[in-house]
Assembly symmetry: C2
């Protein structure tokens, strides 16, 4: 950690990036609600006012972290080279990836679903989420013979299941179950939903 001595001027190479990194660390330790600008500046050894040269306010910094979270999630869901698999297996693979991402980057996962960020005021987040939804739609449409209503039913079911499994895992209901086991479970449930997708539609 570069410091130019007590009280001296301090120039970080890239304070903006350092703030995002530190925010992730703090969120990991104390949760989103436990994050504060003050704590971040303390850890970096900069003045409390320094972040405001890079971010308008606390939410603006959290939004930047959220964007990074989306990019990482997308990379985990859609690894290069998987595009050749059949849609059902890609879907199961995405469910696995979702679980793995949440477990490996819990602070980021929590931020996305627990931060209460106003996405209307942070369109960057919506833009970063778009590719994820698109990757999903591609798989699901292929399994529904381009029937959009059926595709939506299946997509919602798979998304909800993966999300729900992760939540239950992270909230401590894991009686010794490992991340890998939960990921496999998500994949199996996804296959089961695909198999009985004809039951998912409205009557």
């Amino acid at each position: 950690m570069p410091r130019s001595g007590k009280g001296g001027r301090y120039h970080h190479g890239d304070l903006r990036a350092a703030l995002i990194e530190t925010a992730i660390a703090i969120i990991g330790e104390r949760g989103v609600r436990g994050f504060s600008m003050a704590e971040a500046t303390r850890r970096l050894g900069v003045a409390v006012s320094a972040p405001y040269a890079h971010f308008a306010d606390r939410d603006d910094l959290l939004a930047a972290v959220a964007v990074q979270a989306c990019e990482l999630l997308y990379a985990e869901l859609w690894p290069p080279g998987e595009a050749t698999q059949p849609p059902a297996e890609r879907l199961a693979s995405m469910a696995r990836g979702y679980v793995r991402f949440a477990a490996a980057h819990r602070p980021l996962f929590d931020l996305l679903y627990e931060a209460g960020l106003d996405k209307k005021q942070h369109p960057e987040i919506e833009a970063a989420e778009r590719p994820i939804a698109d990757a999903f739609s591609a798989c699901v449409l292929a399994l529904s013979d381009a029937d959009e209503a059926a595709a939506d039913d299946l997509a919602t079911a798979v998304e909800a299941t993966a999300h729900g499994l992760v939540t239950l895992l992270l909230d401590g209901d894991h009686d010794g179950t490992t991340v890998g086991q939960v990921a496999e479970r998500a994949a199996r449930v996804t296959r089961a939903l695909v198999a009985s997708r004809h039951l998912l539609g409205s009557p």
Copy 2:
């Protein structure tokens, strides 16, 4: 609201209950993280120190609210007279009830899954959750020919799906979908999972 005048002594009929009620209201408006003891006392017109005659600290009050939430959820999942339905329908019915509860009592639902309460330090909460898990197990075991592993697979899948659907609904991905529609969706996904439950087991 009974007040004995500005500055005068104030005796609420049941401050403990009033605090729980007010906490629910505040959580509903500002979320769990937006709740504070100070705000609660302000709304009730009592001194900031008054709650400490009934609760050790902020978490202790939130734990009491969580217990009440569990009782309400249990009542919604297990309405009297439904015990006679076949297990699959009871299960679908519970999924519906879960969605309805979350939508109707969002502050309480959020508290249960977002509060980060240390359940080890609040065994009352675990005790209040027990009946819910038990009601669930009863349905699922009947559908699995008493195969405990299979029962656990199905239970986890159904729980996760209902939970995930609710989360997606509450987090704003409802493009005009109503609570009733999501509840029906949860019921249908549950039936689909029951139908393909043979796919849920580990290989």
